[in-house]
Subunit: 141 residues, 2 copies
DNA sequence: CGCGTATTTTAGAATGATTCTAAATAGAAT
DNA sequence: ATTCTATTTAGAATCATTCTAAAATACGCG
């Protein structure tokens, strides 16, 4: 299923804790960005993040958004992904290995947990697989 | 297997024929580009194409390479694909649905025919799948 | 062959996402 | 308060790609 996200909502205090644990100072900018990426957003682009954060924090710089997502990525709190259908990187709070469904009508991405897909690979012996990336495109009827 | 490509080598005359059939004038630039994309190359980027063609056809413009790959794409002679690990579009002479293996050591892409992968999707009833894109990353030991 | 017209090629400018730079600001430590 | 480091910021730079508008070329026809 592309079902309800398994991501618990984090309180501001919990976010603060995650940042500190990652060695990042919990600045107002970062807390706001995390409130969006970790709690509200669904696979947002930097543009999405900037737009949302701008409402709560007018005038935040684009560079800060980039800096922050990079830091969050390094800290392992988000995953950066790029798909064929867009030239923008999207950030994924789901850092577990999983796949994606692109709803071609709405343009929205939805997680597909690994256990919802069974893959049987018939590859040469000498290949060691490190990672599998899957994007399913389709529509809901 | 990521085995030998199922792409027959085309003679210059055959390439000429393909272009005409697609309503494209078989100019020297296009013939040279096709000689590379359709016969020699393995998932080349525009940069790759430009570099190879430049040797046979010094001074060809980058715009022409872009124009030509777009025309070939429209004609259905190649497929444009973008993967996560590079910010460049690559062109694929294999226009059948298929998947890809990225050799992380060499950075090279290899086709995986659809019949070498069995996928069982456990998705909601209301989802109609139009396309599945798979990239397998790994190494050869 | 020689013209007329549509297609193609081309250089260079524009675009857009992202990265870089270097200076200003803020936080933490002493 | 002073110092040191982390963060934020505006703006420039980068890079793949797209666009523009003019020059060159190909092709059909007389
Ligand atoms: Mn979006
Ligand atoms: Mn390449
Ligand atoms: Zn996801
Ligand atoms: Zn391929």
């Amino acid at each position: 299923m592309t079902q309800q996200s398994p991501h618990p909502t984090l309180t501001p205090e919990e976010i603060r804790g995650e940042l500190k644990q990652a060695g990042m100072r919990p600045t107002a900018q970062r807390l706001t960005i995390c409130q969006y990426i970790l709690n509200q957003a669904n696979h947002p682009s930097v543009e999405d993040i900037k737009a949302w954060v701008d409402a709560k924090f007018p005038g935040i710089s684009l560079a800060t958004v980039y800096n922050t997502v990079h830091a969050l990525e390094t800290a392992g709190l988000v995953q950066a992904i790029r798909f064929d259908h867009s030239d923008k990187v999207i950030y994924d709070r789901n850092t577990e290995p999983h796949f994606h469904f692109l709803d071609e009508d709405s343009g929205t991405l939805h997680d597909i947990q690994s256990d919802q897909v069974q893959i049987n690979l018939n590859l040469p012996e000498d290949i060691r697989v490190n990672d599998i990336s899957i994007l399913i495109r389709g529509k809901r009827q």
